[in-house]
Symmetry: C2
Subunit: 284 residues, 2 copies
């Protein structure tokens, strides 16, 4: 790694785990954590997650060779406006956001000359959040999607790929648009469905939810995710999520029709198609 | 326990675990396993799950004080027709099926005079099935719903409650109708949704599913369940599942409208309602 100073903005689960993974791998430069909650930053320094910290975005990025946006995506634009005059020439800015195209359209044009942006999205997380859930192994064998655009610097791209490999992640390249449709389908849609499933059970009867077993708990665990973060992801990836929601809605309507017609063979066919596909993905 | 011989029809995960739990608890009567796959029954005897076995339903129930229907619900009617002339007077028949009202309407009238039926449904299971997944602890602290009807014998009801308590289960009484609406909402609907979710992701693009992370895997794990069993559950609980599917479909339509209107505050309100309710159920 050629970076002497890495600044991570947003010292939550992902930001902290990224820092810990680099330290475990032997990174001996400076890692600076930036956030608004000073108590959290003090703890992060005590635990050894960061070497320094700042509650000022603009101050925290001074002299950084790599700046990692690890706060909720809804804050990226404001953060970049705050830091852009203090980013040094030759620095690389990257992010860990769950939405790419819409966000990049807003922040990439804000990058000063001589500063490269490379988008990233590690597919790792837990229901629990914050520095106490952080672990250097969070990205071990996890995929990290890297989303270069036509104008992305090849050199910066290689460096961002390299640093994610050092955390143990397996990097996969996609365009921002491809990324957003893929993750609308496999991540954003399931989150929205989990929230809707809980609400529709409440709509049947408020007292029923408590009877749910392990299957329901597994299915609705992601409804424990931060609602503000998911609201922002939905707004930034509106069109792709709508595309997948409409497909899903058709799929539910089709199943309702099969029920109404008592077409149990047709229903079993739907179930079998889903089961086969689910079996084909790697085990947990 | 006053039972000298217990016959379990269907030696899969639930039937085997029930036998193992009773043996662990000190039951020293005879446990006979009945099924169509002789190889499976031989193994069950070797492992010590059952003391005897029979591939004949009619033969296996002779002299049994308690008969447990532990095969898929779609087979109950045929099984009861096969065994009814061989059930001894005073015996109790129970089941572990996931649907009650519709199934009971078919099988309870078939019970010979002097034979009591008490419905049961242990809320326990795994994706894996069969005797090799069986464990005496499967029902430990799990709920077991017992569904007495107006004419159910009080004595038989008490004995069935008692034997489930011995397996470690916590018994809950519900009418068959209440049971079916509750489990349509918290179990049958989620299964149908999981299958539909996988299929709608395939409909977006067949190659996308493999990018799913832990959240999607958790949400779609129940799509690995046996499709034939779930087809039968759907057919037996058609009306209640349709009720819940229609509520769910409205919930999805409402969310699509919020997206179309870019009503992100309204969307966050939906998410928050679901998150609060999900937080209120006991942790996994």
């Amino acid at each position: 790694m050629n970076f002497k100073k890495i600044t991570i903005i947003g010292i939550g689960l992902i930001g902290s785990s990224f820092a810990l993974a680099l330290k475990k791998e032997g990174f001996n430069g400076n890692i600076t954590g930036v956030g608004r909650n000073e108590g959290n930053l003090i703890k992060a320094k005590e635990i050894g997650i960061v070497d320094d910290y700042s509650t000022s975005h603009a101050e925290g990025v001074i002299d950084a060779d790599l700046i990692v946006l690890a706060s909720p995506v809804g804050q990226f634009e404001e953060i970049v406006i705050n830091i852009k005059d203090n980013i040094k020439k030759g620095a690389i800015v990257t992010d860990v956001g769950s939405v790419k195209a819409g966000v990049l359209k807003k922040i990439v044009p804000l990058m000063p000359e001589g500063v490269s942006f490379v988008g990233g999205h590690p597919i790792a997380g837990k229901e629990c959040s914050g520095i106490h859930a952080a672990t250097p192994d969070l990205f071990n064998n996890a995929k990290c999607i890297i989303t270069p655009e036509e104008n992305t610097s090849k050199d910066a791209l290689e460096k961002v790929i390299d640093i994610w490999k050092k955390t143990g992640a397996v990097t996969v390249l996609m365009s921002p648009e491809e990324h957003d449709l893929v993750f609308a389908a496999v991540s954003h849609l399931p989150h929205v469905v989990a929230y809707a499933l809980v609400n529709s059970i409440l709509d049947v009867d408020e007292g029923i939810l408590k009877h749910g077993g392990r299957g329901l708990k597994d299915m609705t665990r992601i409804a424990l995710s931060p609602t503000e973060l998911w609201r922002d992801i939905c707004s930034y990836n509106k069109d792709d999520i709508l595309t997948t929601l409409r497909k899903f809605s058709s799929s539910i309507t089709h199943i309702i029709n099969l029920f109404e017609e008592s077409d149990w063979a047709g229903l079993e066919k739907e179930f079998t198609r889903a089961k086969k596909a689910r079996q084909s993905i790697e085990p947990d």
